[in-house]
Amino acid sequence: MAKTSKQFIQDLPKIYGTYTGGFLLFIILMGIAEKMGLSGRNIGLAFVGFTILIYALIGWISRTTDVDEYYLAGKKVPTVFNGMATAADWMSGASFVAMAGGIYFGGYTYMAFLIGWTGGYVLVSTLLAPYLRKFGCYTVPDFIGARYGGNLARFCAVLILLIASFTYVTAQITATGSIAQKALSTPAFPVSFEFGCWTGLITILLCSMLGGMRSVTWSQVAQYIVLIIAYLIPIFWISWKYNFGVFPHVMLGDEVTRLAALEQQYGLTKHTKDVMDAAKIPSDALGNATSLKYIVSGHSAVPAGHEVAWRYISLAICMMVGTASLPHILMRYFTTPTVTSARRSVGWSLFFIGLLYLSAPMLATVSKISLMDPNLPTAIIGKKISDVMAIEWVKNWVAVGQVKIVDFNNDGILQLSEWFMNEDVVVLATPEIAGLPYVISGLVAAGGLAAAMSTADGLILAMANAISHDVYYKMIDPKASVKQRLIVARVLLVVLGSLAAIMASFRLTGILGAVAWAFDFAMSGLFFPLVLGVWWKRATRTGAIAGMLCGLIAGTAYLVWVGVPNKDITFFMGATPWKDIHWIFVDNLRFGIPGALVSLIAMVTVSLITKPESKAVMDMVDEVRIASGKTVLRGA
C-alpha cells in the first residue's frame, strides 16, 4: 500500500502531463468538428460534459475509507501540486467570470481586488500556513480548539467558518448554475436556472463525497489545468490575431495608451439617475449602474485624491486579511508532507494564481480595444446601431438581457455611453467579440465551470469537515468509530450542498457582493485569534472567545447598519436604508475593518485581564514555532 502510494506521487507529473495533452487534443478535435459543421451548442455541451465526467471520474478513483486520507489527503500532496490545487480552490467563479469584467468597467478602483486577492498570501505564508501545518490539525477550528482549549472556543470558530463559507459557496453555486444552464439548454429543451444549480451541485458532490480532501485535491489540480488553459488561450489568440504583441502581458502598452486616446475621442459620460431610470436600466441611489454597466472610468487612469486612495487601500486590506482567515484556503496547507513544503506551497499557490490574475487586466484590455478601435473589424462603438444589432453575438446576448443598447441622443450611431453590458459577459463573450471560433467559447464555459466548481468543492468540504470533526466527533460523540465519522461527514456534504443550492436559487446578490462579504466575515472573527494563537503566548482562551464573538458581532452589526445601495437584498437587511457614509467610506464591502479592529481590541484586553494559560499550552506554542519534530497534535 505504502509503496503504491509513493509510486503514485512519483507518477503525478506524468499523469497530469498526459491529462493536459489529452485536453489540448480534445480542444483541437472540437475545432475540427466545428469546421465540419458541429453546432456551437453541441460544442459547448461537449466541453462541459467531457470535463465534468473527468472530474467525477477522479473523484471516484480517489475514494477512501481512511480518516487521514479523507481529511488531509494522507498528508502527501507535493508542494507544486498543492499550489495548483490551492489556486483552483482559491479562484472562484468571481475570479474567472467576473474579474476581467469588473476591471473592464471599474478600471483602477476595481483593481484593488487584484491586490487584495494576491497580497493576502504573504500573510498566509509568514504568519500562518507553516505553523498550522506543524500543528497537524484536521480543520481550522481544530487548531483554535487545541490551542485555546475547551468546546466553546472550538464552537465559535466553527460558527464563523460556517457563516463565511456559506456566504461564499452560495455565490459559487449561483455561478455554476448559470453556466450549466447556458451549456445544457437547447431550444427544444430549455432548462431553468434552478436545474442548472442542482446539476452543478451533483457534480460538485461527485468530486468530494467519496474521497473527501483526497478526491477534492486531485480534481482541483485537474480543474486548475482546465481553467488556466481556458483563460490564457483567448488572450494570446486575440493578441496574435490583431498583432498586439507576441506576449501580451508585457506588450500591450501601446493598446492601453490607445484606449486612453479613444476614451477621450468618444468621451466618458456618466448618466444621471433620471436618465438611467428612463432607459429602464437598474441603478442604485447614486445612479451607478448595478447590473448592466457602461464605461465611465478611464482604462488606465488613476483618479487623484485621498478618497480614491483610501477606498482602494481599505478594500485591498479587507481582501488580504480575509484571505489569511478563510478556512478552505488554510486547510489546503494541512495536506503537504512537511512544514517546509507547506510554506513553499504558498509561494507556488500565488504563482499559479498570478498566471490568471496578471492576465485579467490584459483580457480587459484586448476585449475593450476589440470593441472600441475603429481600425479593427470587430469594433462596434461609433458604428450604426442597426448594423451593430445585426451582429450575431450582439443579437444572442441582447436576447437574454445581458446586453442592451439605448440610443440616448437618437442619432442612430452607437456612442460609448449607449452600450450596456453585464460584467460577467466580458469574459464569456470576448472570444465571440473578437471573432474567434466557437470552440474557444466552449472552452471558456468549461473554464468558468471548473473555477466555480473547484471553489465550491473546497468550501463545502471545509464546512462539512468542521461539523463532522469538530462538532460531532470532538464535542458530541468522541467515541464514534471511523466509519460513523465518515458517514456523518458525507451526509453533511449533501445537506450543506443542498442548502447552498436552495439559497442560490433565490438569487440574492451578484457574484461579487457575496464573495467580498465572506472575506469580511472571516477577517472579523478569525484573523486575530488564529495569528495571535501562534505569535502571542499571552493570548488566552477567554480572550480568543471574546475576540471571535465581538469581532463577528461588531462586523455583522456594522454591515446591517451601513446597508447596501441595492434593493435586491432588502430581504436580508430588513428595512435598513442604505447610509451614505461619505466621511469614512467604509461601506458594506469593507465591514471587516471595524469587525477586525473590535476583535483585536477585545482579544488583547480580555487576554490581559485573564490568567495566562498553563505551562502545557506555552510548551505547545513553543513546539509549533519550530519546523522539526512530530506534529503537535499527534505528539500529544
Binding site: K75, K76, Y108, M111, A112, L114, I115, T118, G119, Y121, V122, L123, S125, T126, L127, P130, H249, V250, M251, L252, G253, D254, V256, T257, S300, A301, V302, P303, A304, V308, A309, Y312, I313, A316, I317, M320, P337, T338, T340, R343, R344, V346, G347, L350, F351, G354, Y357, L358, P361, M362, M618, D619, D622, R625, I626, A627, S628, G629, K630, T631
Partner: protein, 89 residues
C-alpha cells in the same frame, strides 16, 4: 519552557516576519497612496500607477514569498530545526 536555542530561533524568525510584512505593506498599501502621482511615469509602455496595480505589486508578492521562504529555511537550518529531510511524520 523554550530553550535558549528556541528563543534565539524565534527572535530571528520574528525579525524576518517584520521585514517581510514591511515589504508587503509597501507594495500593498504605500504604493497605492501615491498611485495617482506614479501614473505620470511610464514603465514598459504602461503608466506606472496602472502597471503597479495590474502587474507590479502581484509580481512583487510572488518574489517576496519565495525570498522570505528561503530566508526562513536558512534560519531553520542554522538552528537545526529544519524538517526538509523528513519524509512523513
Amino acid at each position: 519552557m523554550a530553550t535558549p536555542k528556541q528563543e534565539a530561533h524565534w527572535q530571528k524568525t520574528k525579525g524576518l516576519m517584520f521585514i517581510t510584512l514591511a515589504i508587503w505593506f509597501f507594495f500593498s498599501t504605500v504604493v497605492f497612496m501615491f498611485a495617482a502621482d506614479l501614473n505620470t511615469a511610464s514603465f514598459l509602455g504602461y503608466k506606472l500607477g496602472y502597471y503597479m496595480t495590474a502587474q507590479g505589486s502581484m509580481l512583487a508578492f510572488i518574489i517576496l514569498i519565495f525570498w522570505s521562504n528561503n530566508r526562513q529555511e536558512k534560519i531553520d537550518r542554522e538552528f537545526g530545526f529544519s524538517d526538509e529531510d523528513r519524509e512523513e511524520d
